[in-house]
């Protein structure tokens, strides 16, 4: 009897966007493994050409409803680099604060609504809520606290409207934060509990040898600014990104796959940030990490759920710090004069680095745009994880193997809407 067969799942759930996985097994050997992105292309880089530079934040936010702040901020930083302005002081702190909000809402959504059900054997968080209502209610309240930061500073949770080149349209009064600050103090304790819950989940043994790539800033855990570094010695200004990384268009995907030239695939996102920036975490976050034995390099992607939870503690702690030290700035935005040039922006979206490059003319019209989202960068690495994972678990039933593969993909919190500038799951055994 042949040990070869076909397993098919048509649409990977609990990820953002449309993608599929194609896995072929012949005589118990994995012969093919492709992550397919069938999310239709939307051509952002094409229709940005000819639009005013001031529109890039609002337009690119529409690439992703889950991480609009990342798009808004990467584009703003690119434009500000062209204009030669640098936003500091309280305006810079407010930018970190709204980014904290996006990390909290996105991380908690992924950890509890999208990923934890895999570890606990539920189809979704609603079913999980049937058995563990208090856990899901806590997660929803935590998520809401993150969204409340984005809403207060940005006007609304999805596609916020208040960030602009130079700063903000309107800055809040100190008193506006009063009730949010109280909620964040609850959220800080709840997020520490959430780390303990995440750490109690059973992870497969699956440590891998990765090249981690993330922003690094000497004084702070990275959101908006820093040099791009890796654990293999990369250390560059983001303006040199395209000298070191390239995108490849493969037939099975509507997203472009990124590689580190001369090195191959690489890993962006919470694990990369954490491993490269542990020293920059807050004292509280480090203490929570030490308590669970996470003051180390984390190289098992299934443990990303714990790291995402630790980053949530950090984002809440950082948000509280910013709010407690907040003083309303005199100006809501810096003035500038339009000038032509090329600018680069790279910020840490919840799922990893998001790179933008723009070329604008003397009137401020966008001539060219290039956008490299985190999931496009992780795409090739996800395929390699699966290629390494499947042979170890070949004995599982088709149903269980399929689910485990889905879980392995979700380790990356892939955002397929973003990557198409990705998941139907097919396991084929012959």
């Amino acid at each position: 009897m042949s040990n070869s067969k076909t397993i098919k799942v048509d649409y990977l759930a609990r990820v953002e966007g449309e993608g599929a996985l194609f896995i072929k097994i012949k005589d118990n050997e994995l012969t093919d493994c492709k992550l397919k992105i069938f999310e239709p292309p939307r051509f952002f880089e094409a229709f940005l050409r000819g639009r005013p530079f001031t529109e890039a934040p609002d337009i690119t936010a529409r690439i992703c409803g889950i991480c609009p702040i990342a798009y808004i901020m990467s584009s703003i930083h690119a434009m500000e680099r062209i204009l030669g302005i640098h936003v500091g002081g309280q305006l810079r702190e407010l930018r970190r604060l709204i980014y904290c909000g996006e990390w909290i809402e996105s991380h908690v959504l992924h950890v509890f609504m999208l990923h934890a059900p895999d570890f606990l054997g539920y189809q979704d968080a609603i079913q999980l809520a049937g058995d563990k209502p208090e856990l899901v209610k806590m997660a929803l309240r935590l998520k809401k606290a993150g969204n409340e930061i984005v809403r207060l500073l940005g006007g609304r949770e999805i596609h916020p409207i208040n960030n602009k080149i130079g700063g903000f349209y309107k800055v809040p009064e100190k008193a506006d934060f009063a009730s949010l600050l109280e909620e964040l103090k609850w959220a800080k304790e709840a997020s520490i509990e959430a780390v303990k819950v995440a750490n109690s989940l059973e992870c497969p043994d699956f440590d891998q040898d990765y090249e981690f790539v993330a922003l690094h800033h000497p004084d702070e855990y990275p959101f908006n600014e820093g040099r791009l570094i890796s654990n293999t010695g990369l250390d560059i200004d983001i303006m040199d990104y395209e000298d070191h990384f390239e995108e490849i268009h493969v037939e099975h995907s509507n997203a472009l796959q990124s590689v580190h030239k001369g090195h191959g695939n690489y890993f962006v996102g919470p694990l990369a940030r954490y491993n490269l920036n542990y020293n920059q975490l807050s004292d509280l976050t480090k203490q929570v990490a030490v308590d669970i034995g996470y003051d180390r390099q984390v190289t098992n992607p299934f443990q990303s759920i714990v790291v995402r939870s630790l980053e949530t503690v950090y984002a809440i702690d950082e948000a509280i710090r910013i709010i407690e030290n907040y003083e309303k700035p005199k100006k809501h935005a810096l003035d500038y004069e339009i000038k032509p040039g090329i600018g680069w922006g790279c910020t840490e979206a919840p799922r990893g680095i998001l790179y933008h490059r723009y070329d604008i003319d003397e009137k401020g019209t966008i001539k060219t745009a290039k956008i490299v989202p985190p999931t496009a960068q992780n795409q090739s690495r996800i395929e390699e994880d699966l290629s390494n994972f499947i042979p170890k678990y070949m004995d599982l039933s088709d149903e269980n193997l399929t689910w485990k593969c889905e879980q392995a993909v979700r380790n990356y919190d892939p955002c397929i809407s973003c990557a198409t500038h990705f998941l139907k799951l097919n396991i084929e055994r012959e």
């Binding site: 966007g17 292309p41 051509f43 094409a46 229709f47 409803g65 609603i126 006007g155 949770e157 493969v250």
Partner: protein
């Protein structure tokens, strides 16, 4: 409600996922909604797939591929009520900017191997293909309007979604007019309400997320912007935004070409 719970499906076409995320963003109401309706198909939130037909389908996104042209017709056949969520589904969305350009050129710009890409010349609203029972506007939709739709479905009534302009909401909030007092170009007079007059409340002009209001006088809007000294090309691009392929915004931008 037991077995009488309506079966809900949530479908995605070309979009950013933000409108369906609005359902998960109803943190205080999500578990109650999940008790009142049976979430039968919602891949962003669950692996479980309950076979159709469905009492209600929420559709997010625009139709941009030959495959999706077929898929939306199939969804209509297995759905009692079809409700579209947001600007992409209602107007073609921001990706409908291709409708004013050459899509082949766009493909060549973004992709090294355009032959791998299967796409339509235009980004189409859902109503180009099927009868839509209700369209919820916005880029993104407002989650409270979404809850009003869910509650109305359960109550068997038409959703109470105002169709007046952003201007009216601004007056109700007693905002100082950013256009009259601040000389800020603002689409509030011609844009449907629903956001809570958000941008003017943050001292910026409305940029039309909720699309054209019923009786929008776009030519008069053009004249007002010209009086502010805004160049025709900029006015054209303002109409040609997140709902640019929906009349009368479409016509207004074409008259400025």
């Amino acid at each position: 409600m037991g077995n009488n719970r309506p079966k809900l499906a949530v479908w995605k076409f070309a979009s950013c996922d933000g409108c369906q995320l609005s359902l998960l963003d109803c943190e205080d109401e999500l578990l109650a909604v999940a008790e009142a309706v049976q979430i039968a198909y919602f891949p962003e939130a669950t692996r479980e797939v309950v076979e159709g037909p469905y009492d209600v389908s929420f559709v997010e996104g625009s139709v941009t591929t030959p495959h999706d042209e077929e898929r939306i017709r199939e969804i209509r056949e297995i759905s009692g009520i079809v409700i579209t969520l947001g600007a992409c589904a209602t107007s073609g969305g921001i990706q409908a900017l291709r409708n004013f350009a050459d899509v082949q050129e766009f493909t060549n710009i973004v992709y090294a191997n355009p032959q791998y890409i299967d796409t339509l010349d235009k980004s189409h609203p859902i109503s180009d293909y099927i009868k839509v029972d209700f369209e919820l506007r916005g880029c993104p939709i407002d989650k409270y309007q979404l809850l009003e739709v869910v509650i109305s479905l359960l109550a068997g009534k038409r959703p109470n979604i105002p169709t007046h302009s952003v201007c009216m909401d601004c007056k109700l909030k007693m905002n100082t007019c950013v256009l009259v007092a601040g000389n800020e170009p603002c689409l509030g007079p011609v844009t449907q309400a629903g956001c809570g007059a958000l941008c003017p409340s943050y001292n910026r002009g409305c940029y039309g997320c909720f699309g054209p209001q019923d009786s929008a006088n776009t030519d008069s809007m053009t004249e007002v912007w010209r009086h502010l000294g805004v160049a025709d090309e900029t006015i054209l691009q303002a109409f040609r935004g997140f709902n640019g392929f929906l009349e009368p915004f479409k016509g207004a931008s074409e008259r400025l070409e």
